[in-house]
């Protein structure tokens, strides 16, 4: 029995301490993807809370033969898309993703005049359209496979592959526009 299976079984019995342990382990993942998709912290907190409660409510539906991470991200992504749909119906709404990116850039400028290429990538990510950004993060950060991302986002693998390719291309262009150049030493170091 894996650690996750054991923890989930304790959560299913309504054990509060186990549920807190579960949250300690996975709320960062859920909140992170919510923030990536929504681009707004308060919204992300609300949606992540909603998603995590749904996780507990539906823990018995998780297939314990499979990794839990994609299952958690599926619930989180679904809640985020519902929130995005609601948001799109609101009049005169701002592009929160762009706001967040600008905010981060301003913050970073104060901290350090010269951003390294990793920080530039982070900023550029915030300016990507939501589905590309989500795809990129799920692939490169959360290390899900095309198939898993397809299941999480409810899209064919081909679509995911296309989105990921476009995400990289757009990120590269944004980095180039900002005068960022490849650092061969970073690659050599790896």
């Amino acid at each position: 029995m894996t650690e996750d299976v054991q923890l989930v079984q304790q959560c299913l019995s309504g054990n509060e301490l186990s549920m807190r342990a579960f949250l300690s382990k996975y709320q960062g993942l859920v909140f992170s993807i919510c923030l990536r998709m929504l681009g707004h912290r308060e919204d992300a907190e609300d949606v992540a809370q909603d998603a995590l409660v749904r996780v507990f409510r539906n823990l018995d539906k998780w297939d314990q033969q499979r990794p839990i991470k994609p299952w958690l991200l599926t619930i989180a992504a679904n809640r985020c898309r519902t929130a995005l749909e609601k948001r799109s119906k609101l009049p005169a709404q701002n592009d929160l993703a762009i706001d967040l990116a600008a905010e981060r850039r301003e913050h970073s400028r104060h901290e350090q005049d010269q951003l390294d290429i990793g920080e530039e990538l982070e900023l550029a990510l915030g300016e990507l359209r939501e589905d590309y950004r989500t795809c990129f993060v799920m692939y490169h950060q959360e290390e899900l496979s095309y198939q898993e991302i397809g299941e999480v986002l409810g899209c064919p693998q081909g679509t995911i592959k296309t989105w990921l390719h476009r995400a990289r291309a757009q990120l590269a262009k944004r980095l180039q526009e900002r005068g960022v150049v490849a650092d061969p030493s970073a690659l050599e170091a790896t």
Binding site: E122, L175, Q176, A182, D183
Partner: protein, 273 residues
């Protein structure tokens, strides 16, 4: 190597980039590099690849700090997803005594409702369901006591049935079992002592501050041998005594004294001294 093969190789290399686990597959294929240097379209792709590749190599994905634990646990508790065992200190509540900040939830108590009082939470032990039975019980007891004491206003305590002195039972059988409801027991003891002295001394006049009227029942009660004939105590009281008899006739201190002595102080057999 053609353009399509170069593109596939570059994509495959990026696909192998996994930031957290530190996987990197850097394209150093001489054929790819040679093609990119001679093909403008593939040169663009190759430059983009190098940029993303080097950015991913140093990228530290943001995982903003967040603590939604209490919010989620509260929400889960409201949905009954948390067991009461191990977390609930007291009972559970429904509409009252709710956990601070919880949204009122209609319906009756279930095993999954929010615990009445939780360690580590801002629970408020208001009037929970464990309090109401106590309140109702106390109210009923007070009502019952009030009814008993209302029967004869102005007296300390009363018996539902005044002992019928003509009944030749042993005195304890005539007594009211609710003797213990007498509030001013000290006063009654004083009355009883005076009365007993009056009986023992076969007097029917004032003793210890009040008149003792001893009716003609001592022989029926089997104490005649001890205190002798009580003829001179029956209806032969002086006019002065008549007035005072009025005061003690309902219920008389003698009644109280017997009640007290026989029910509380003396076993039945000891009366036939």
């Amino acid at each position: 190597m053609n353009c399509q093969e170069v593109k596939e190789q570059l994509d495959a290399a990026l696909d192998d980039q996994r930031v957290v686990s530190g996987q990197f597959d850097v394209v150093r294929d001489a054929d790819v590099v040679a093609h990119a240097e001679s093909c403008p379209d593939c040169r663009v792709l190759y430059d983009e690849y190098l940029l993303i590749e080097s950015a991913l190599a140093v990228w530290v994905p943001r995982r903003p700090a967040v603590d939604l634990t209490d919010r989620v646990i509260e929400a889960a508790r409201r949905e009954g997803l948390i067991s009461s065992t191990g977390s609930a200190v007291f009972g559970k509540v429904d509409e009252v005594g709710k956990v601070d900040g919880a949204v009122p939830r209609a319906g009756r108590l279930t095993s999954g409702d929010e615990p009445f009082f939780l360690a580590g939470t801002q629970a408020t032990p208001a009037a929970g369901r464990s309090v109401w039975p106590t309140i109702v019980t106390v109210a009923l007891v007070l009502a019952a006591v009030a009814i008993v004491f209302q029967e004869k206003p102005g007296t300390i305590a009363h018996r539902e049935k005044t002992p019928q002195l003509s009944v030749p039972d042993s005195p304890p059988g005539l007594l009211d079992p609710r003797q213990d409801q007498v509030a001013d027991i000290g006063h009654l003891v004083a009355d009883a002592q005076s009365a007993w002295r009056g009986i023992a001394n076969r007097v029917s006049h004032q003793a210890s501050g009040f008149s003792v009227f001893v009716p003609n029942f001592t022989s029926e009660l089997g104490i005649a041998d001890v205190i002798g004939s009580a003829d001179d105590n029956s209806g032969s009281a002086s006019p002065d005594d008549d007035a005072q008899r009025q005061e003690t006739s309902q219920p008389s201190a003698v009644d109280k004294a017997f009640e007290f002595l026989f029910d509380k102080a003396e076993p039945a057999g000891t009366l036939t001294i």
